[in-house]
């Protein structure tokens, strides 16, 4: 069987529904086989977006996303998307073509050392230098991407391997990937510590999202009467309306959530790496707090915060183990329970601000109100992302997809397209900024050509807003390279691709705009003119403590 046929055959056997990619010279034999493949191929306009779409697909479907790029520039363009998936533990299989094995290292046309380049930004990567390894490599790639902590796997395939003859029996062997060793030997210690805690708090990260552990975490929280706070990646795992859920922590987090995080005596971290955006100054973090760390990846233990009880296993399994350990024990009902009520009540500022220029908080408020209850929301990176993180209301059914670890501007739009391919019946909305959207706006072409109707909710303030905010707050308003000059006309831009678009300048138009956009049969852009002077506050300045918080409109400090 020809190498290119082997690739397609094995992708079909993995039940791949879709591959996102762009062809190129060395990929011609592969694309020739794709003509008759049982799965869909979506032609993107830039390889970076092929990776982001595969990533969005993976996050929405919890199945591995597949992206394809050619050698050299195709592979290097893919890099940002693969690194994004790596930082957020998203399962991808990224296939790149490569110059023929005989040409490797000769600086041939469109040759780049993709194997070397991808190595530090993948969970694992392969270079297939012998055709007969190809079946093993493809099977291993899917196994590695979806076993234990998920992650992207890259396969670099030289052009001669695509045309080599591979014995069909090689396709029949299995290459199982052993799951990582679970270690819950400290379970009893964890149970005892939680039982004796006076002020327990549960910090939920992206691991709980991948493991679908939301309902179990709520159950555990109810047993412990512990507040639940989340990282950016954990947003949406638990419904915000639940009395114990205090929202997202961190630099731009909810103040009630930050209070619980920094004032608890026992912190149960589930599927989180304790990133610098969560802990702030790490030497000041949880100095007297005892930490229980649940993670599927043993290498996360002691990486960022040290010296705690470790439970190594997936969030769902470990949470259930904690529940069964704690169920029979008597948890004392402490003052902490009342404190949580106070915190929750103190964190209900009214951001339903009417009037113009439109406040970004108002946009998010209206999205919370009028998006369907099972909508998928993606974000770009910057103020738009942090406004969503802070203000968007999740109900346990909505899904929040964002580039948390790498912070990739231009992620949200292609990720929304990928998510829509995975979940065509759900409304998928990218909350964008005008800086981010301009990095990937060409993908309107993909959305029209391949009929993927998503909504782009553009929070247009004419600035690279987050950097501008830092220049304003920490660099004495010495603005440099942050104004975007109010070009282009985004409505015309979207319309040029065949998408539908409206400009919104009045807060009263938001409701109708959102309702119209989610019903649209084609991609729909809401170009919302927001107040360019509105910052994302509250904010804990980088490397500072919670006591250094800049509050802005947040009234938490006054009421606690």
């Amino acid at each position: 069987m020809k190498g290119s046929r082997v690739v397609v055959e094995l992708l079909e056997r993995q039940e791949v529904e879709v591959a996102f990619g762009i062809p190129g010279g060395v990929l011609l034999p592969l694309y020739d086989e794709l003509v008759t493949a049982k799965f869909r191929h979506i032609l993107t306009r830039h390889e970076q977006c092929a990776a982001h779409m595969a990533d969005g697909y993976a996050r929405a479907s919890r199945k591995p996303g597949v992206c394809i790029a050619t050698s050299g520039p195709g592979a290097t363009n893919l890099v940002t998307g693969v690194a994004t998936a790596f930082m957020d533990s998203s399962p991808l299989v990224a296939i790149t073509g490569q110059v023929a094995t005989g040409m490797l290292g000769a600086d041939a046309f469109q040759e780049a050392d993709s194997f070397g380049i991808m190595m530090p930004i993948t969970k694992h990567n392969f270079r297939v230098t012998e055709a007969k390894q190809l079946p093993k490599v493809i099977k291993r790639a899917f196994g590695i991407a979806t076993t234990g902590r998920f992650g992207p796997v890259h396969i670099d395939i030289p052009s001669d391997v695509f045309v080599a003859d591979i014995p069909e029996k090689e396709l029949e062997r299995d290459y199982p990937t052993p799951p990582p060793r679970r270690n819950l030997s400290k379970l009893l210690d964890a149970v005892k510590l939680l039982e004796s805690a006076e002020r327990p708090t549960i910090l939920v990260g992206g691991g709980a999202q991948w493991s679908s552990a939301g309902p179990e975490i709520l159950k555990l929280a109810e047993i412990l009467m512990a507040p639940v706070v989340t990282t950016l990646m954990g947003k949406g795992v638990v419904p915000d309306a639940h009395p114990l859920v205090l929202g997202v922590v961190g630099m731009h987090g909810r103040q009630g959530a930050n209070y619980a995080l920094h004032n608890c005596d026992v912190l149960l971290g589930i599927g989180t790496r304790f990133s610098d955006r969560v802990t702030g100054k790490v030497s000041e973090f949880a100095k007297t707090t005892k930490i229980i760390h649940v993670d599927i990846d043993a290498s996360e233990i002691d990486k960022n915060v040290k010296g705690h009880i470790a439970l190594i296993g997936d969030a769902w399994t470990a949470t259930n183990a904690l529940i069964s350990g704690l169920q029979s024990r008597s948890i004392k009902q402490s003052e902490w329970k009342n404190r949580i009520k106070e915190l929750k009540a103190a964190c209900t500022c009214d951001f339903d601000i009417s009037g113009e220029p439109i406040k970004p908080q108002k946009v998010i408020k209206e999205l919370s109100r009028y998006l369907p209850e099972d909508a998928i929301i993606t974000t770009e990176v910057g103020q738009n992302q942090m406004w969503c993180s802070h203000f968007l209301e999740m109900n346990g059914k909505r899904q929040f997809i964002t580039s948390g670890g790498l912070g990739t501007m231009g992620f949200g739009f292609p990720a929304a397209l990928g998510a829509k391919v995975a979940k065509p019946d759900k409304a998928v909305v990218d909350v964008a900024g005008d800086g981010s959207l301009q990095m990937v706006s060409h993908e309107f072409a993909t959305s029209i050509q391949d009929d993927i109707p998503v909504v782009v909710c553009l929070m247009n303030n004419g600035w690279l807003g987050m950097v501008k905010q830092w220049q304003k707050l920490f660099y004495e308003k010495r603005y440099k390279a942050t104004t975007l000059g109010n070009v282009p006309d985004f409505v015309k831009l979207a319309q040029a691709y065949g998408a539908d678009a409206i400009k919104i300048e009045k807060a009263s138009e938001l409701k109708e705009g959102i309702k119209r956009a989610v019903k649209s049969d084609v991609a729909f852009l809401l170009d919302i003119a927001i107040d360019p002077e509105e910052d994302i506050l509250p904010m804990i300045p980088p490397g500072k403590k919670t006591s250094d918080t800049i509050y802005g409109r947040c009234k938490f400090k006054c009421s606690i």
């Binding site: 070397g116 190595m119 530090p120 694992h124 290498s299």
Partner: protein, 121 residues
């Protein structure tokens, strides 16, 4: 203080690059490297020494999570073994012994050229 990490790895191209990349990224200076064929076909053994034992501990789980690393451990001091190849006016000399012994000989004989490495089983 020296910490020695011993690994059994797949004998494939790219494995050294992947391992060294992890050390570079975590800012761990590798003092000595020994790589060689070993008792198992298709596998190789890698022994690295680093001068910061705490960092060796920290990188160990990351090494274990790599697909091509079959086993990784920090080797007890009692099993450390040093090796030196030295050149002076009288010709070449080779020597094995404890880390201290080899350091001592190099200090005393001051060879014109030498290489010293650390291995362990």
């Amino acid at each position: 203080m020296v910490a020695v990490i011993s690994m059994l790895v797949e004998d494939e191209p790219g494995v050294m690059q992947r391992i060294m990349g992890e050390f570079t990224r975590k800012r761990i200076n590798v003092e000595t490297i020994v790589v060689g064929k070993c008792e198992r076909p298709d596998k190789a053994r890698i022994v690295l020494s680093v001068t910061e034992p705490a960092k060796a501990e920290a990188v160990l789980e990351h090494l274990k999570s790599m697909q091509e690393i079959v086993e990784a451990e920090i080797v007890d001091e009692s099993r450390h073994e040093a090796y030196a190849l030295m050149l002076n006016g009288h010709g070449e000399a080779r020597m094995t012994g404890s880390i201290e012994e080899i350091a001592d000989v190099i200090e005393k004989t001051k060879p014109q050229k030498y290489i010293r490495t650390i291995s362990a089983l």
